[in-house]
């Protein structure tokens, strides 16, 4: 699979296109979130959960990978990308390690994200006070 990101160096048309696609795909996912927020009684917490599950289910059906191929970070930075990384990580681990992969795959691929969230979260909570 060709990934335009490898063409590092000077900012060419290809690279600009990658950023543009990240912007558009990421923006569109957020628009879906905003529609849910404004038009349904769902709270932001419900929407975050929904998006992770949705990202996971779409990945399992093979429907999220194309979005990642097109949008890059635009598809991996929003929360459905978190579900995507857990599910695709699980499948990969099952391919490599068999049954035990069902239990080890998700957290393996989410390890960096979760650990970063806990460590940075803790650090910021210690360093700062809420402004209200």
């Amino acid at each position: 699979m060709y990934c335009p990101c490898y063409s590092s160096g000077s900012i060419g048309g290809k690279e600009l296109q990658v950023y543009l696609m990240a912007f558009i795909v990421g923006g569109l996912i957020c628009i879906v979130g905003q529609l849910l927020m404004d038009l349904t009684p769902l709270t932001p917490a419900h929407i975050l959960v929904l998006f992770v599950v949705l990202g996971g289910v779409l990945s399992a059906l093979g429907l999220y990978q194309p979005l990642v191929d097109i949008g890059g970070a635009g598809a991996t930075v929003p929360l459905p990308g978190f579900g995507y990384s857990m599910v695709s990580g699980t499948f990969e681990e099952i391919d490599n390690a068999g049954f035990i992969g069902i239990f080890s795959g998700a957290l393996k691929s989410a390890a960096v994200g979760i650990t970063a969230a806990v460590i940075f979260g803790f650090t910021m909570a210690v360093l700062f006070n809420p402004k209200g």
Binding site: C5, Y6, V18, Y19, A22, F23, G26, G27, L28, I29, C30, I31, G33, Q34, M37, D38, A45, I47, L48, V49, V52, G56, V57, A60, G71, G72, A73, G74, T76, V77, P78, L79, G81, F82, G83, M86, V87, T90, F91, I94, F99, I102, F103, A106, L107, S109, V112, G113, A116, A117, V118, F120, G121, T123, M124, A125, V126, F128, N129, P130
Partner: protein
Amino acid sequence: MVSMDGKREEQTFNEQYQRMVDEIKPKPTLMKNLIWAFFIGGLICTIGQVFQNYFIGLSLTKKEAAAATSAVMIFLGAFFTGLGVYDELGQRAGAGSVVPITGFANSIVAPAMEFKREGYVFGIGAKMFVIAGPVIVYGLITAVVSGFIYWLLR
């Protein structure tokens, strides 16, 4: 039977009243909200792409680069929450700043910081996950269930 009539009457009042409330209630400025969500959400993802490209340039694999990117984005979300600006951004951007992973970081730092006053264990430690916890729980359940099906069908 009187009480049943009373109940029915109350129900019809409540339904009529709900309609009256819906009529008067200010509607969300949907178009404006969508535009904000699109631009801020898109912008945050573009920043993510910049880091991702940088990490790939350091010859990390695509997967490693994506993981490193999410770590950086989580740091940024956490840091700006600490500075007290992320909630101001959220007022305007709505889903644009909630849905990206920086919003996930915000959902961890905001309660952790706020409940620090209730101590390091019951405050920061426990409250950190009031919103992020469910996200991880349902993410894991989704992964395990779909993993199990994948394993069966393999």
